[in-house]
């Protein structure tokens, strides 16, 4: 095994008096698909924000491909999907994608934009302002935007939010394709079945710590639910 795609080394994070993470460590090999599970307020989003470098840990450090996350080469390899759209409402889908392909120096931008728009089935609305899109359409464009520069590390924070059944299936197919291409993927979701279908490995965060880190093949969604998310498993995390 070469350099891990991601190393999280003893991360802690506080927001004033609020504790978000305590001593979280794990590493992810290139090509792995990891689901991060946990209740509301467990610290999943905080963890992804620290990995992407937009938020600083109070303690510990993160390495992407063996180096600092803020290195420009690392940023160029990274894609983030979060609850924020990263899109301009007052621009059309095409204009948004053109803007980002210039910033990310995407080769053959025209063709690439066509491909990603087709992947998320928005080609027919490409000349419309994003402000006029429905929630789910916006989320699909967010996905297209994230995949535009062919990132090798994807951080997906509840990417299924707002998608209908058909679009969920579409995203699952897309993510499977990304996995086949050898991309490294971290996903947070509350849908244990989807997590099970997609990922090789799962990490459960509870009370600011990793309480489980195992292979999907060794478990099943119901066992995870029973163990960590049932009423007996204990109160809320926030």
């Amino acid at each position: 095994m070469g350099v891990p795609a991601l190393e999280v080394l003893g991360i802690s994070k506080d927001f004033g008096r609020i504790i978000a993470l305590r001593g979280v460590s794990f590493s992810v090999q290139s090509g792995e698909f990891v689901s991060i599970l946990g209740r509301n307020g467990a610290g999943k989003t905080t963890l992804l924000n620290i990995i992407s470098g937009v938020s600083r840990p109070s303690e510990g450090e993160v390495k992407l491909f063996g180096t600092d996350p803020s290195d420009r080469e690392n940023k160029a390899k990274l894609a983030v999907i979060s609850h924020e759209m990263f899109l301009y409402g007052n621009l059309t889908a095409i204009e948004n994608l053109e803007y980002y392909s210039r910033i990310y120096n995407v080769p053959n931008p025209k063709q690439r934009i066509e491909t990603v728009l087709n992947d998320v089935e928005l080609t027919h609305r490409r000349f419309d302002l994003v402000a006029t899109y429905s929630r789910g359409m916006t989320q699909r464009l967010t996905i297209a935007r994230a995949l535009l520069h062919e990132p090798s590390l994807l951080l997906l924070d509840e990417p299924f939010t707002g998608l209908d059944q058909h679009a969920i299936g579409m995203l699952i197919t897309l993510l499977k394709k990304q996995k086949e291409m050898g991309r490294t993927i971290l996903l947070t979701t509350h849908d244990l079945h989807t997590a099970n279908e997609l990922s090789d490995r799962y990490i459960v965060i509870s009370k600011h710590k990793i309480v489980m880190d195992g292979l999907m093949t060794d478990t099943n969604p119901d066992a995870i639910r029973e163990k960590f998310f049932s009423a007996e498993a204990g109160g809320i995390d926030s």
């Binding site: 938020s55 759209m85 899109l87 409402g89 210039r102």
Partner: protein, 223 residues
Amino acid sequence: MMRTAISILKKDLRMEFRSKESILAMWIFSLLIFVIFNFTFEVSRLVMLEIAPGLLWVAFVFSGMFGLNQSFALEKENGNLRAMALMPVDGGQIYVGKFFSVTIIMLMFEALIFPIFIIFYDLQLSLGMFRLIPVLLAGTIGFTSLGTILSAVAVHTRNQQILLSLLLWPLVSPIIIWSVTLTGMVLSGEVTEAFYPLLLRVGAFDVIFFTLSYMLFDFILED
């Protein structure tokens, strides 16, 4: 190198021209300033000319504040400022892009406001007025070079506009005061030998503000 800055500039101008309300709002606002001052104070024309340069800059500065708030509200809206922090580019380039877009928009406002001003105060256009061009440029750049970085700072906070005002005014007021003085000299046709040294001083501040902001912008983008 400049690809990022140019992309950001193009994107901003495209959006600005698409939402024409802000331009119209600015224009009406300036009209109001001039009307109010013209008709509430019954002063002699001589006194009027004394305060006119100040009024002109009040209109400019308000349009500049308006433009800054607008520009950074767009970036804050959908987490785009965070997207900028994630971009594989030098923060300085992002600053340059935002700086140029904000500056061009403010200069555009000024070009729209100035004719109303000329009409209201019944000023004679003369060749000497071309000296206003470097004055407006220098004053505007001083305002926007600081305004751009301080807006990026203020965007992270809840009371964005208040913080922006608190940070910006003390730093930018010398530049505005000197610009008013310079504008007064040109409009009254009394360009003394103090004109060019003062203009140079404003220019020097512009360079300092711009360079410092360019270097610091990377830190600002992080939370």
